[in-house]
Symmetry: C2
Subunit: 333 residues, 2 copies
DNA sequence: GCATGAGGTCCCTTGTAGGAA
DNA sequence: TTTCCTACAAGGGACCTCATG
């Protein structure tokens, strides 16, 4: 509550001297420092960062705004970001938008007013990166490709992961593979379909995967799996592009009395929401979430430091494919 | 980037007029307002909240610092807090301490410097509430009882929940019940044991529940369940005081080849980490998490408004007991 | 070189006062 | 005079530059 000048007064020095003691810079004699420290303690002085930031034009604060903090995926990103930020002398302010575009905009504006030094967020629409560009506010985009090209971004290698998962299925002998993914204009959804197609192409087969564009919901996974099961010839393998879709797929297969992997091989991105009571079962491509958070912060801080516009970077981190028990040779063979 | 005086200059008015337009207070003619709004758009003006807060001595910002944002429990609290805050014209800044006391202190100090209007946090130690009291910073404590008595707090009715769960077991005929809970100096852990004891007392039985004090980890649940199974007479029911402990209990029972509920009835607080693929199975006491967040914010904001020290409140919210399939009559009967 | 301080600056809004209809 | 609109000056807290001993 008390301000620097009150501390100064009590210690019989000028405010700037208190500042020097607090921030440990400039010359202060041991004797003076002692008096100031006593005054600080007696008055319960806590420096007011508003004044300091106003003056220094820095808050040493980064905003990380995410759709669903409760998700394991975003949670790990937040961890990585936080650790990296602390290491670099920054703090992270977390915002949770609950998947709402309005809330995202609201948070971003709120934090911009607060003069946060930089932003990290998932670009769910185009106009937000544009907004930041226009206002010359530094930011790094996460998880998705950000369309605009003067943008720094960090994401996982969806193409590569999908390629590997599909290749794995092809090598097992599957030829009819259903790919259930998100909307075509999400880079992650698009890239995962693209990776699957590429694997088919590279295998030199005339076949093509069957692509279902939907969204990332459980309901979509259920619906499109049912559709896929109704096609002739019926697919022998399903690639669910997200863990949400995977759940829908599992439910639909269960309903159709199809066993995994005996009757249907299943692969996916990310794990089904973790249950410590169940052994990991699915063959999946796992994204380096912690690392994504870390690199996003490091890129942002580097940008803050140089602030020269060098070239913008689109960092794509490798994905790890883990073959477990949800895949086997197709039943027909 | 541009400041209020630049906008004012371009619009041919005084800074204060721009302020009036932005904040919608005071008298501004439609014509002037128009000119100012144009200038704001042309200059991409975003008000600097540092200056404003410095002057007004308010940030309209609340800090919510939690141990594990990824937990369903804390996630829902955050939701409730966020919604309530927005409704009341406040913003929430989220901090995740990852269970670390150091990180908690770090966050709290950081946000205090940033002049956050008030704090909500889980009092994992005594000296933090003391710190806030000393500095006269408004705060509300969450989840646990806060020892100090000049403190506002919001928590769930652990005693009542434990009482009901235990009563349910007693009514089924169980007499040997093991209660596995956290450390004795956590109010939640203590209260749950107390509720169980109270249920025994009220049933007028000479018996006593068997209390195991540990921590909230899975490992503790596993360990104490094994210990309980080794006692004679062996308990016919286990009350795991948290979902973490419950997992350990389940694993230990599985290892001992004991079926739930045929060989052992099990009750717990909170659900096992949610898996959408498994039907809810356990008889549990569920805490009103969303409501806890909401009430914490409302209490804090009320405190901020009156700032008179009336009496402090310890809000205890009711817990809902849901009887499902993990409990039945004891095998011996 | 060492130790301290006065003054100006960052951006915004409060309190108060003045001008126009 | 009353009502409306606009503006000046003064902080608010911290820190940098420059000056002084």
């Amino acid at each position: 509550m008390s301000a620097i000048h009150e501390v100064a007064k009590r210690a019989g020095v000028a405010p700037i001297t208190v500042s020097r003691v607090v921030n440990n810079n400039g010359y202060v004699s041991g004797e003076t420092r002692g008096r100031v420290e006593v005054a600080i303690r007696e008055l319960n002085y806590i420096p007011n960062a508003l004044g300091a930031s106003l003056r220094s034009k820095q808050t040493k604060t980064l905003a990380l705004v995410l759709p669903h903090i409760t998700d394991k995926f975003f949670g790990a990103i937040a961890q990585g970001a936080e650790d990296a930020a602390n290491r670099l002398g920054y703090h992270i302010i977390l915002g949770n938008t609950d998947g709402s575009e309005t809330k995202l905009e609201d948070y971003l504006l709120f934090l911009a007013k607060k003069q946060v030094d930089g932003f990290i967020f998932v670009p769910t629409s185009q106009h937000i990166p544009k907004f930041f560009l226009k206002h010359k506010i530094p930011f790094v985009t996460l998880d998705r490709e950000a369309i605009e090209d003067q943008v720094d971004s960090v994401r996982a290698d969806s193409v590569g992961g999908a390629f590997q998962l599909t290749k794995h299925l092809l090598e097992l002998g599957h030829r009819h593979i259903a790919v259930i993914t998100g909307p075509e204009d999400h880079s992650t959804a698009y890239d995962r379909a693209a990776g699957a197609i590429q694997a088919f192409k590279e295998a030199g087969l005339g076949d093509q995967p069957q692509i279902y564009w939907g969204n990332h919901s459980r309901a979509a996974g259920y619906e499109y799996t049912k559709q896929a099961l109704a096609t002739v010839p019926r697919p022998t393998a399903i690639f669910a592009a997200t863990d949400g879709l995977l759940i829908g797929t599992i439910l639909a297969l269960r309903e159709a009395n199809l066993r995994i992997p005996e009757d249907m091989s299943v692969v996916a991105f990310d794990d089904v929401p973790y249950s410590p009571l169940v052994d990991p079962f699915f063959t999946v491509a796992i994204q380096p979430t912690y690392e994504m958070g870390r690199q996003a912060v490091e890129l942002l801080v580097a940008r803050l430091a140089k602030e020269g516009p060098d070239e913008f970077r689109d960092i794509i981190l490798p994905v790890e494919v883990i073959v477990r028990n949800s895949t086997s040779v197709p039943a027909e063979i």
